[in-house]
Structure formats: C-alpha cells, structure tokens
C-alpha cells in the first residue's frame, strides 16, 4: 500500500523544512500545533538547536481552541512574544488540525502585522509533505515578502566585480537550497570561480540574503531552492543553474541507482560519470522533482514504489536505512542523508561540497 511504511522512516516533514530554511534569518517562527512539531524538529531534524539560538516556537494549540476557532489565542500569544523578543519578522506555519479547520493564516498575518508593525508571512505547510515542500515554500514566501529589485549599478559592470586568482572577473552567485537537512557543511568550495553573494541558508544571515538580487546567477543546490530561483529569474532576471549542471551531461540507462533528493543525487551522478564513466540513475524519493530529472531518472514515493524501483539494482548509493529494502545482491554504498536517518549517522555524512573526501573513503 502506497501509504504504509513498514520498514523505513519517512523523510523530515514540511514543518521542519520551513523551520530549517528560515533558521538563521532572525525571524520568529511560529508553528500552529499542539505539541510535538517543535520537539520532533529540534531533536531529529535540526543540528543547530543546542548551540545556535533561533526563535522557533509552537502555539500549543488545544482541542477547545481548535474546535471553537479561537484564533485570538494564537494572535495574542504571537504578538506578546514578538514584543518580548523583538524579532526581525514573523513567519507562521500550519499543522494538520488548523489545516483541517481551514484557519485563515493570511488574515492572521495581517492582524499580527498591524499589531506589531513587523513583517509577517505564512508558509503553506500542513505536516503532510516532506521537508523540500516546506523549505521551498519558506524560501519563496520570504523572497516575496522581502526581496526588492532595487537599482543594480553593478550588474554587468565588470569593474565592480571581485576578481579571481587569474585576474578574471568573478560571477556573483547566490547558493540556494543549502540547509543542514541536505548538507552538513557550510564551507562552500567554489574554487575561485564565483563571488558568493548569499547562501540560502546555512551559515548565513538576513543581510546577506537581502543582497540576493545583486547576483548574476543562482545555483540551486537542492530541490528546496528551485521555486525561489524561478521566482528570482522571473522577478529580477537572474538565471539559475541546477547543481553542477548535472542535467546537461547525458547519462545512460543503468541499474546503478542513487536514491534520495534529486539535486544532491544529480550532483553526485555527474561527478561519477565524469570521474569513472559510470552511469547512475537517480531515484528521487523527495517530493519536488519537476525539471530536476533526466529521462533515465525516476521519481518514487513510498516504500513499496522505491523497493520495486531498485529491485534490479547492481549498485545502490543510498542512506543506510534503505538497505533493508535494497536487493541483497546489490553493492550497497552508504550515503547517509540527515533528512532521512537524522542523527543516526550524523558523523558519517560526507561533505557534499567536497566529494573527493567521500570517494576516497568509499
């Protein structure tokens, strides 16, 4: 049955994706939820919680407030908290019961904005999707709320750009879709090729993100970043590139599979193709896949579908928790993914910005 997960866990959910994406941007994030969302997020889906402050809270919704549609409690509590903590902005996320009730979050945001004078926006989550949907929605809502197409005296002005080691002017880029859910490192190795304007959004801050419209190019490092890259292309005319342009390198049909998030998988598949001449096909197991797969790749959701797809696998690169549904005859190459196995293999997750480390250890 598509909805049953007998042996493997689900991916990090959309609410956690929302929180992870906005973690370092100075806002106050409120998840309208009874309990559990915050604990789940900070325990299993967030490596920064113990050491790095971020204003992420739940509303503590109870049954009576849900039944009677008492939105005033959420509004009053949020306004009160904002006055105490003085965040840069407020973002709200949804969970199953307010979703079921049809809570008017857009209206609630307007009231909160009026009462606090702070920007407030809603990210459409309902806890029924994976993290890519939540993070993607968070980036897009943030961009729509804050990014402005101001005058850009530098775009096209080669003199204003930073220079690389060979004196060549560097392209200004935004790195988009980098959260600890997909990446363990904030060390972005762009080998002197780019001038990184902003990093969405690990090891970053609000001010650098606000400079994003200055960039010449957006590099989408996970499916979480695709929607906002498309938005910036449409709004500011900034083109985007997907990962290491893995889709531009043809890969043949193969029984070698990389299972996981499509962009990170694609980056690895391209690297392997270039280094070893081997074809690996992507089995994309997270939700956002449109425009991120080639004709040899597949989107698979749910345990049964994934199991069926990789049943003929010869080599499988995947999180260790997939081993139980992989064919025993396949060569299984472990690639722990925080958004699936959480803290279990945290110390073994390679730095995807430096794939050589991974190859040498494998």
């Amino acid at each position: 049955m598509r909805k049953s997960y007998v042996r493997i866990p689900v991916y990090t959910g959309d609410v956690s994706g929302f929180a992870s994406a906005l973690y370092e941007l100075g806002g106050m994030l409120v998840i309208h939820d009874p309990s559990g969302c915050n604990s789940t997020y900070n325990t299993h889906d967030e490596v920064r919680w113990y050491d790095k402050e971020s204003l992420i809270f739940i509303s503590g919704l109870n049954d009576i407030d849900a039944i009677t549609g008492n939105d005033d409690k959420l509004i009053n509590d949020t306004v009160s908290a904002a006055k105490r903590l003085n965040p840069r902005f407020i973002a709200l996320a949804n969970s199953p019961i307010p979703y079921l009730n049809g809570t008017d979050f857009e209206g609630i945001c307007r009231i909160i904005e009026n009462r606090t004078g702070l920007p407030c926006f809603y990210v459409k989550t309902n806890a029924m999707h994976d993290y890519t949907v939540g993070a993607s929605g968070a980036y897009l809502a943030f961009a729509k709320k804050f990014l402005k197409a101001g005058p850009d005296p530098d775009r096209g002005n080669i003199e204003a750009k930073a220079s690389g080691a060979n004196g060549k002017q560097l392209k200004r880029v935004n790195i988009i879709g980098v959260t600890p859910l997909d990446y363990t490192s904030t060390t972005i190795d762009v080998s002197g090729r780019y001038d990184v304007i902003s990093n969405w959004s690990y090891g970053t801050d609000f001010d650098s993100i606000m400079r994003s419209p200055e960039a010449d190019l957006n590099i989408v490092m996970s499916s979480c970043g695709l929607a906002v890259a498309k938005y910036m292309e449409k709004t500011f005319g900034i083109p985007y590139q997907t990962g290491n342009s893995y889709l531009e390198l043809p890969r043949g049909k193969s029984r070698n599979y990389i299972v996981g998030e499509p962009v990170t998988s694609g980056i690895i598949a391209r690297k392997i193709k270039l280094e070893y001449g081997m074809d690996f096909n992507i089995v994309a197991t997270t939700e956002i896949t449109d425009g991120l797969l080639s004709e040899v790749d597949d989107a698979c959701h749910g345990e049964d579908m994934i199991k069926e797809k990789i049943a003929d696998g010869v080599r499988i690169i995947a999180d260790p928790l997939y081993r139980v549904i992989a064919p025993p005859t396949a060569e299984f190459i472990e690639l722990p993914h925080f958004a699936l196995s959480g803290r279990l293999y945290l110390k073994r997750i390679p730095n995807l910005f430096n794939l050589e480390e991974y190859y040498h250890e494998s």
């Binding site: 604990s39 789940t40 402050e53 809270f57 503590g60 969970s95 029924m128 279990l344």
Partner: protein
Amino acid sequence: MNDVHGAVLSQSAAVADCRFPKPFDNGLEFNAPVHGTWNIVHIGYEIPGAHQIYICADNCMRGVVMTAAEMGELARFSGVVLEEDDMVFAGRIEQTTIEGVSDVLRSLDSLPPAAIIFPVCAHKFMGCDMEYVYRCLEERFPKVKFVRAFMDPIMQKRGTSPDVRLRRAMLDIIDEQPVNPLAVNVAGCDVSMAEDNDIRKLLADSGCIVREMCCCSSFEDYMNMGQGRLNICCYPAGVPGVKNFSGRFGRDYIWLPFVFDYGKTQTGLELLAAKLGKSFAEDKEAMKNDVESAFAAAEKVIMDTEIALDYTAVARPLSLGRFLIEHRFNLTKIYLDVIDTDEEEDFRWLQANAPGLVISSTVDISGRVLRRDNAGCLAIGQKAAWFEGTAHFVNIVEGGGLYGYSGMIRFAGLMEEALLEEKDTRDIVPRKGLGCASLI
C-alpha cells in the same frame, strides 16, 4: 533574569508569588534540547514483541519513527501516512487506517502477539469510528492483541495525555488469570526498581514473584501480570491505568510515590507490608538516621553550592525541594510548568518558609534566549542542567527507580557524585529516553 541581549525576559517567579497549580500563563512554547524523558514510543516497547503502528501525517510520524530508529527498534515499528484525501472524503480515514494497518501486519515476517495502534488528533477531529476500525482489524487478525493507544497531543493540556492513555491501554490487553497469591506487579512506571529499592526489598523478603511492567522477559511473562494479587504504582502518569487494571479483576492496588518525607515513606512501607500480610519491622528511627547521615555527608561536600532541580528528575519535585531546604542546602530554583495537586502541602510550605525560591518555566519562550552560564550550579535533572549550563547534574528521570529510605540515601550519594564528577551535558541530554538504547 537576563537574556543574552541584556533584556529582562524570564518567566520565573518567587514561589511566594506563584499561583497554584499553574504558576504561569500559557503562551507560545519553547522546547529545550533535552530529551531524557520517555515518550510513547519508549513506553510502548515495554510490551515484549509488540509492534507499534502510527497512522499520522509525515511530520508527526517523523518524531516517533526516529525515536524507534535511535533505539535500534525499527523492525518493531511501522507507519501509515495520512494525506489530504484522508481529511476530505467521508470514510477515507477509516479505510486508510484499516487497510494501512492490515498491510503493515501482512508485510511482517510473522504476526506480532500485540500491535499498538496510534491514531492521532486528526482521527478525533474527523470523527473516525475507531470501534469500527478495531472490529475490522480484530476480525482480520484474531490472534493479534490490539492495544488501543492514541497520539493526540491536542489533549495534552486538558484531557488524558497520550502517555497516560497508553499506559492504561497497555494494561487493557491483559486478561484475567487465576490469582497467584505470591504474584505482585509493579506497573505504570518506566524505570525499573533499583536493587536496594525498599519496595523491592520488602517484596523479596515476602517471597513474592515480582513482575515489573517495564521489564517483562517475554510477551507471556507480560500477560502473566493477570495473575497478580497486588498492583503497585510509583509514578503519577501510571496511576489511572494501574487503578483501572486492578479494578477490572478486583485485585488490590497501592500507590507508592517516591517522596522525600519520612512520615509518608513510613506510612507507604507499612501499608505495603500490611497488604503483603506482614508488619514492617524495620527500625524507622535507625533508617531515618541513616538518611540524615547520608545528607549530612553530602552537605559537607556540596556546602553552599547553588542547586537547581527540575520536574523530570523526580515526580515530586516540591517534596524534594522542601527536603533540601529543610536540610540547609542552597536550593535556588525549581523548573516546572505545572504543580501536581498532590504537592500542594509542600508548595504552601515553600511559600511560607522559602518565599524567595524561584520557580521557572521550562517551556516559556525566554528559555531560548536566556544565559546558560551557571557552570558552578549543581543541577538535579537534565532540564535544570541545560538551563543552568552546568556539567554537574544528577542524571535521572522518573525518580531513577528509587524509593523509600534507601532511595533517599542513594539520592544523597547521587548529588555528591554529581558535584564531584563532571558529565558531558552536550552529549547526554539530547539523547532520548534515558536508560533506553541510543544508537546516536
């Protein structure tokens, strides 16, 4: 209290100014990265061989499935995800629940003796007919005992919390058996009795066959709790379940919380002895003196070190707080969010005798930004350790299996040890379910 930005923020109050039983208003809630307490997944695994099945949205599933994964117990855990269509079409949520659970059970290598089913808040709000669901499941799988649990945190503040309900549901599957006059159950708590626990000693001296719900050796052993002549509960969250279990078969029941009070401890042990058909012959003055000696020794080491304690360490934090103050320890703060009504007497005593003692919330939003730099503090409990930022803490939950005079003596030793030896707070407190396997 100051936050890292220098503003005055904290939701703390002197005990003299606190309301009873809820000292603080509800608002937005913070969750500290401290997870040593047991959740419903840990508790469910107390039934040997049982398979847990959660029917919920992705994000809700994530917390429980990863709890199981970190315990190395994914083989006894499955989920059925709820999606938008389950919230829209009449009858769909029942269908998804029935077919999803059936699919899980059919996919296992062998049927488990028991399946713990966790529907969620959405089932309640959709008016899901769970009786119909269980009728269908029991018809399809007559050999499986279905434990009727719930993961409905929306009831956390006003009704029966999920862990209390689970403890009861886990006992509901036990069938009545002929009474074994030697059989005694200790149920409703998650931490096994310490070796020198006074209850354990008394039961052993009486020749009892003791079954602890949290550590039965097999499913059969678990079901043999139906033979018990007496049920003992030591933890508040277990009381409704153990009471109900005892009432179903007309078996005797006793509530013996770990308190730091000589009178109540003595009364509890005498009552237990009476139920076992004995008299409690120990010299209570001698035992009291042993406790006093233990705390006097601890005091010589701890001296005027600042002490903070939290509600996760012991079920009766105010009883402990009162005892420490009566024994001249420098207790300055108690972390809790609600006061057990059974602790009103201790609360009033603290108001009268230690009015400046600070009561501090663990869920208030200020917890996110407070300074945590009280490294010299001796904490009792993981939350107190994290909030104070100390490596010196007594690392127990739910009373740590302690009880009675021996429990108090052991506790004094734990305080002394905590002061003398640093612990790795960063490594310890984010781990879930203290005492459970942790693969991280």
